[in-house]
C-alpha cells in the first residue's frame, strides 16, 4: 500500500491542508464536496482518504481540504464555486501538478467543471462524481432525503445520519470517518463558517452554483467542453438519479468527443467509498484510456 501523507502548503497566502502520495506523470487532484457551515457533514480530503492509497499505486494523488474545511484556513465570504475553482487552480500551479486529472464529488464536481472552463490547459481530464450540484435540476420534485436532520448540528450522530442517508450502503460510514468529521467540525475554519452561516449565505451559495452551471451549460451549447470528461454515478443515489446523470451527460457529450458516463450498481452518493474497487476500475480505465489513445 502506498503511504498517503497529511501535509500543508501555502497557496495565495492561505494555508491548505492536503493528503498527498504516489508518484508519476499526470497526477490526479481529488476535490471533496460540501459547503462549510451549510452541509450537514463536514467535508474535506478525508472523504477520499480510504480511496487514495488505491489510486496512488499508479499516479500521484493530491486531495486538499478546500478553504473553510478541515485544517485549511477559513474561507472568505461569500463562499462559492468560483472561489473554490480559483483556489484549486492556484494549488495545481503551486504544486506544479498540471496538466492533471481532476476528480470532484458533488460540489467538487462543479468546481472541476469551472476549473476546466477557466484553465483548460492545466487539466488533462475531469471526472464528475455523484453531483446533483452539477446536473440540471429541471424542475424535478423536491428531494427530502436530508429534510429532517437530527440535532445538534455537526454532532457525531447528526453527521453519521447525513452520511448514511446519502449512501446506498452506509457501511463506509465508519469510526475513522466520523472521528475525522468531528475533528473538522471543531477546527477553526469550520467554526468560523458555522458562526457565519445564515439564510443569506445559503442564497449566496445557491447563486454561485447557478452562475457556474449557467456558464457551463452555455459553453456546452454554444462551444465545446474543453477537456475530456466523464461522469461516475451511483445507480441508487438518494440525492440524484440516473436520469439526472443522463441529462448532464447529454450536455457534455454534445461537443466533447472523449466523454463517458459510468453507472455503478449498488452505490449512492459516495461511490468512491461505497465500492472503492468499482470506482477505481472505471477511474483508472478512463485515465489509462486517455493515455493510450
Amino acid at each position: 500500500m502506498i503511504a498517503i501523507a497529511r501535509t500543508q502548503v501555502e497557496v495565495g497566502g492561505r494555508r491548505l491542508a492536503l493528503l498527498r502520495g504516489g508518484a508519476g506523470a499526470e497526477p490526479v487532484l481529488f476535490l471533496h464536496g460540501g459547503v462549510p457551515g451549510l452541509s450537514l457533514y463536514c467535508g474535506g480530503a478525508h472523504l477520499w482518504a480510504d480511496y487514495l492509497p488505491l489510486a496512488a499505486r499508479q499516479r500521484q494523488v493530491v486531495a486538499p481540504d478546500l478553504p473553510g474545511f478541515g485544517d485549511s484556513a477559513p474561507a472568505d465570504a461569500p463562499y462559492g464555486i468560483e472561489a473554490m475553482a480559483s483556489t484549486a487552480l492556484d494549488l495545481v500551479r503551486a504544486l506544479g501538478l498540471g496538466p492533471c486529472h481532476v476528480v470532484g464529488h458533488d460540489e467538487g464536481g462543479l468546481v472541476a467543471i469551472a476549473m476546466a472552463l477557466a484553465a483548460p490547459e492545466a487539466l488533462r481530464s475531469i471526472t464528475v462524481v455523484a453531483s446533483p450540484t452539477a446536473a440540471p435540476s429541471g424542475d424535478t420534485v423536491e428531494n427530502l432525503t436530508l429534510a429532517h436532520p437530527p440535532g445538534p448540528r455537526w454532532s457525531r450522530a447528526a453527521q453519521e445520519w447525513a452520511l448514511a442517508r446519502m449512501s446506498r450502503d452506509p457501511h463506509h460510514v465508519d469510526a475513522a470517518l466520523l472521528d475525522r468529521c468531528m475533528e473538522c467540525a471543531e477546527a477553526p475554519a469550520h467554526r468560523a463558517a458555522a458562526a457565519r452561516a445564515s439564510a443569506g449565505i445559503a442564497l449566496d451559495l445557491a447563486q454561485s452554483v447557478a452562475k457556474a452551471k449557467g456558464q457551463f451549460y452555455t459553453v456546452c451549447r454554444d462551444g465545446a467542453f474543453p477537456v475530456p470528461a466523464q461522469l461516475v454515478w451511483g445507480a441508487d443515489d438518494p440525492m440524484t438519479s440516473i436520469e439526472h446523470a443522463r441529462v448532464l451527460y447529454g450536455v457534455i457529450a454534445g461537443r466533447q468527443r472523449a466523454a463517458h458516463l459510468h453507472v455503478l450498481n449498488r452505490t449512492g452518493n459516495f461511490p468512491f467509498r461505497e465500492d472503492r474497487a468499482a470506482f477505481h476500475q472505471v477511474l483508472a480505465a478512463f485515465h489509462d484510456g486517455l493515455a493510450a489513445g
Binding site: R257, H262, V282, G289
Partner: protein, 315 residues
C-alpha cells in the same frame, strides 16, 4: 469546433486502423471446422462479434476485433473466433440456422480450446449469444461484457429502419461500406481494410451457401427469426429472475441509431436488480461499434473490468 475536435483525435483514428490480425488458426469443434485468432498470454478474453449468417449486404468476421486483440494481448490471452456459419467457420450441420446453434457452438469452442472460465465479450447479436451462453453454461464464463446489443435489449431495435434497402447491390464494397458507415458515428472509422475483411467473407462459397439457405430457402423467416424471438423471451425472463450470476458490464456507443442507449439502460436495470457487480458505460461520439471508434478507451475499460474480477483478484 468540428475541425478542432477532429485534429485532436486524428492520431487515434488513423494510428490504430491498420492493426494487423493475429494469424488465423483452425480447431475442430464437434465436427465444425472453426477458425479463430489468438494473441497474448494470461486469462482468456473471448470476443463474440455480431451479425448473423446469410446476410448479403454486409458480413461480420473475427476481424471486427482487430483493434482490440493485439492491444489487450499485453495482459490477456485475447481470442476472437468465427461463429458457426460466419467468417471462415463451417455452416451449421443439418441446416440448423438458429441462434441456439450459435450459442452451442460458442460454448463448445471454449470447451474445445480447454479454456478456464473466460471474460466473454459480446457485441450486437453476439451480445445476445454471449448472454445466453453465460445463462446456460455459467461455468464457462468469468465475466460478461455486452456491447451495443439491440438483439438483447428489451426494446425495439431499428436496424431495418436505419439499414434497410441499401442504395447499392448486395455483395459489393459500396454496399458493405454504406452499412457500416450508417452504423457509425464517424464514417472515417470504416477503413478499407475492414471492408477488405467483409468482402473476403462475402466471397466465400460456403458463405454464399448460407445466404441461399437463409434468403432463397427462407430459413431466415421460417427458422432463425421465430426461434430467436422465442429465445429472447426466455432469455429476458431468465434475466428478470436473476439467473445471471456473473459480473456484468454494459458498454454502449451513445450515438447508435440502430440500438439506442435507452435500451442499454433498460438492460442495465434488469441485470443490476439482481447482480451487484453490474455497471454501464456510455461512450460518446460512437455508433454501433465503440470498440472500433474508440479502441484505446474501450480496451482500457475491458482490461480494468477483467482485471478486477480476474482469477485471484480481490473484488
Amino acid at each position: 469546433m468540428e475541425t478542432m475536435a477532429a485534429a485532436a483525435t486524428a492520431p487515434s483514428r488513423t494510428g490504430t486502423a491498420e492493426v494487423p490480425m493475429p494469424e488465423g488458426k483452425w480447431i475442430d469443434v464437434g465436427g465444425i471446422r472453426t477458425r479463430y485468432h489468438e494473441v497474448g498470454r494470461g486469462e482468456p478474453i473471448v470476443f463474440v462479434y455480431g451479425g448473423n449468417f446469410g446476410t448479403a449486404d454486409s458480413a461480420s468476421s473475427a476481424y471486427t476485433w482487430n483493434l482490440n486483440l493485439a492491444p489487450l494481448a499485453t495482459r490477456f490471452r485475447a481470442i476472437a473466433f468465427d461463429k458457426v456459419g460466419q467468417g471462415h467457420t463451417d455452416n451449421p450441420p443439418g441446416d440448423d440456422y438458429t441462434m441456439q446453434a450459435v450459442v452451442d457452438h460458442a460454448g463448445a469452442f471454449i470447451e474445445a480450446m480447454k479454456l478456464p472460465p473466460v471474460h466473454l465479450v459480446g457485441h450486437s447479436r453476439g451480445g445476445f449469444a454471449a448472454m445466453r451462453l453465460a445463462l446456460q453454461k455459467q461455468h464457462l464464463v468469468r465475466t460478461l461484457t455486452i456491447v451495443n446489443s439491440g438483439t438483447l435489449m428489451p426494446r425495439v431495435g431499428t436496424n431495418e429502419v436505419v439499414l434497410g434497402k441499401p442504395p447499392f447491390p448486395s455483395y459489393t464494397r459500396e454496399c458493405a461500406r454504406w452499412v457500416y458507415e450508417n452504423y457509425s458515428f464517424d464514417r472515417a472509422t470504416v477503413t478499407e481494410t475492414w471492408i477488405d475483411a467483409v468482402m473476403e467473407t462475402l466471397n466465400l462459397p460456403k458463405y454464399r451457401e448460407s445466404v441461399r439457405k437463409m434468403v432463397d430457402e427462407r430459413m431466415g423467416l421460417a427458422k432463425f427469426v421465430p426461434n430467436l424471438a422465442r429465445d429472447k423471451r426466455e432469455t429476458l425472463g431468465w434475466l428478470r429472475e436473476g439467473r445471471l450470476q456473473r459480473p456484468a458490464q454494459i458498454v454502449w456507443g451513445f450515438n447508435d441509431r440502430t440500438a439506442t442507449v435507452d435500451g442499454g439502460f433498460d438492460l442495465f436495470a434488469m441485470i443490476a436488480a439482481h447482480e451487484r457487480r453490474a455497471q454501464i458505460h456510455v461512450v460518446n461520439e460512437s455508433g454501433h461499434f465503440p470498440f472500433r471508434e474508440h479502441p484505446a478507451r474501450f480496451n482500457a475499460l475491458l482490461a480494468g473490468f477483467a482485471g478486477r474480477f480476474g482469477e485471484g483478484a480481490a473484488a
